[in-house]
């Protein structure tokens, strides 16, 4: 995996610094990969409509949320190599802000969830300046602490319903034309957020900023010596990695009809997102997507199968162990090592 990253770094580093914005856009439009993302997003968005399958929509919706979580977390874990264990705090907090604005203040849903994203990113930037001074395991522990502290705070925060959380009434869906069309609306938006997450991952990877982040991931001290403003860059990537998950949180909990602290700040979901990244391949753009879809299919399968439903946790654990021990590059890392031509198509 490190070798493939350094090749990516080398590739991203070949462009000349002075380039006009139009050139910059043109350079990306010429590449096949961003188009793959757009097509993929459109296919996911339209599949349940074309196949007229609501069950498929529910399954894809969860997958889209997972892709959003995994691919934004990948910015920290795969690019900057900072292990963020408490990433779910973005999702939960964004969910609370979004749902609260949409229900208590009757703000337009899209504006509410965007506000959630902005607030969370701003908070993440402030927090990031503090805890990103920690390295390795210390940082990982701190992110758990932040999640648990905010979890405990929200549990006691009465305006957000404390431990009970916020229940949405059926009226909340009226501006969207009732619950039926409201759920479709949330689905399209979540798929859109998923597509944006992937484009974001791509844009960062091919930018100068991204190069700095990847350098931090490879060797932070060396990056600092070479002039990468590491504290600021780290705080910025931390803030960016919080934005889209927060937006997704708002949409997801609005769609679920209830948000309560234990569901919103569940550390297990945090770790599941890491598992997805590992399954697909850390540091790549396609990897978290493959990982999220595989994971969602697998959990769904285990859940629906009569034989395995009691042992689903055991099987998921065993699979994770095998990947960590024997396939640390994930599925994509494994494939790319064997089929080099894939690299252009699956970055």
């Amino acid at each position: 995996m490190p070798s493939s990253i350094s090749q990516d770094v080398a590739k991203a580093g070949t462009f000349k610094p002075q380039r006009s914005f139009a050139d910059e856009i043109y350079r990306h439009v010429r590449e096949p990969f961003p188009w793959l993302i757009v097509i993929f997003t459109a296919v996911v968005g339209l599949a349940p409509v074309v196949m007229d399958d609501v069950s498929l929509r529910e399954s894809l919706l969860l997958a889209a949320v997972y892709v959003t979580l995994a691919s934004n977390l990948n910015l920290m874990i795969g690019y900057a190599e900072y292990v963020n264990f408490g990433n779910i705090v973005f999702f939960g907090l964004g969910g609370y802000i979004g749902v609260y604005l949409a229900t208590s203040w009757h703000v337009n849903l899209v504006l509410s969830v965007l506000a959630g994203g902005v607030c969370v990113s701003a908070l993440a930037y402030l927090f990031g300046r503090g805890i990103l001074g920690l390295r390795g395991a210390f940082f990982a522990l701190a992110t758990i602490g932040v999640n648990e502290a905010i979890h405990a705070f929200v549990t006691n925060f009465e305006p957000w319903g404390g431990a009970t959380g916020i229940y949405l009434s059926m009226d909340a869906y009226e501006p969207l034309g009732g619950p039926m069309s409201g759920l479709w609306f949330c689905y399209y938006l979540l798929v859109l957020v998923m597509g944006l997450s992937l484009l974001l991952s791509y844009a960062i990877k091919t930018s100068k900023f991204g190069l700095g982040i990847l350098a931090i991931g490879q060797n932070e001290d060396a990056a600092a010596v070479l002039g990468v403003p590491t504290p600021r860059y780290k705080a910025i990537i931390y803030a960016i990695s919080g934005f889209l998950p927060a937006v997704a949180g708002g949409l997801y909990f609005f769609k679920s009809g209830i948000i309560e602290p234990n569901g919103a700040f569940d550390l297990t979901t945090s770790i599941e997102a890491i598992v997805m990244i590992m399954l697909g391949g850390a540091g790549t753009i396609t990897g978290p997507v493959i990982g999220a879809f595989l994971y969602e299919e697998l959990r769904g399968f285990l859940l629906f199968s009569e034989t395995f439903s009691h042992l689903q946790l055991v099987l998921a654990g065993a699979l994770l162990l095998i990947i960590v021990l024997f396939v640390p590059g994930g599925l994509l890392g494994w494939l790319r090592a064997r089929l080099p031509w894939l690299r252009k198509w699956l970055q």
């Binding site: 399958d53 609501v54 069950s55 498929l56 929509r57 529910e58 399954s59 919706l61 969860l62 549990t155 404390g162 431990a163 009970t164 959380g165 229940y167 949405l168 009434s169 059926m170 009226d171 619950p179 039926m180 759920l183 769609k255 679920s256 009809g257 209830i258 309560e260 234990n262 569901g263 569940d266 979901t269 879809f293 299919e297 769904g300 399968f301 859940l303 629906f304 199968s305 009569e306 034989t307 439903s309 009691h310 689903q312 946790l313």
Partner: protein, 397 residues
Amino acid sequence: MRKGFYLLAAAAFLAAGPALAEDTVTIGFTASQTGKLNNDSTSQLRGFELWRDDVNAKGGIKAGGKSYKVKFVSYDDESQGTRVQQLYTRLITQDKAQFLFSPYSSGLVATAAIISEQYGKVMMSIGGAEEKTYKLGNKYLFQTYTGASQYLAGALDVLKHKNPKAKIAFVYEDDPFSKAVAQATRELAKKDGFTVALEESYSSSTTDFGPIINKVISSGADALLGGGHYADGSTLARQLHDQKAKLKWVTLLVAPDSPNFSKLGDSAVGISVPSQWEPQVTYKPDFGPTPAEFAKEFTAKYKIAPGYHAAGGYSGAMILQHAIEKAGSIDPKKVAAELNKTDVTTFFGKCKFSTDPKSHGLQIGHTMVLAQWQMKDGKLVKEVIWPDNAKTANIMY
């Protein structure tokens, strides 16, 4: 990939159950086979299964000249809301469930209701006592339990009778249900002229009640009302005893109802619990088994006495069956209309649903009893002590 999984899953189902030729009615639900709600959810599930076996043994549900065998489709919701909507959508669109039972616990009920309402499917809510869920504008959701705000009303009546000037400490679990109960009761208590000496909530995972009990002692309270679910409630009872908190009256939610509570020995003596149902109650049912018959049948099958979760499961399903038979059809609209008119007594007690659009489906017929663990001939037994017309023993204060 996806198709492949579904085919596999479908094959597993086909292998599991033989194809049925006669008319069937499919009822879908999720149960918490794993996760923290597993204990309570399982006894409810047993209630469902016992009902299904009874109905099918008698030839099924008879409606409009046909008889429908009952078939269950259920999945594990892992005690979490994450997959509830996915699973209920699947139950309705793929498994073609005609009727639904709710998941266990208030939060999950609210999540599932958004799906069942969209498809206009009747969902019997068994195990969601929190009233908030029923004030969200649902039309097809029907609650069989007495709502949260009524849970401790009986305990207050007893206190009024025994010590009208009692100082009460409210100590309750920080979850939607217990909190709704405690807050409603606190208002009632203030109105009745009691002093609220202390109010503390604790997180669901609390195991060390030492600090709280010290606070209770410091507050000089006579009575403690609160608790939450099994794990925390039994711990609280045990530690109250260990730390010799000199309380004259303790009523805890849910936990003391379980037969397992007697394992606490001396710690259990005198502890009372509001209960939806006890095997000793003497309701005269309009149809279905009597309380004693149900308890006997359940004990014979599962080798454990039924708690109210099990009884609630059975009777909730039976109310649905009754409505289907009255409607003479399995059309959800007709059945919902019958449920709106329901006003019956089963072995579980009275059942009547609110038809006010603001609180549609809320249970307004059923009443609770108060049970207390007492020492009788050297053995711990749970006696019904309130209301007077249902009591099997005197109050021990």
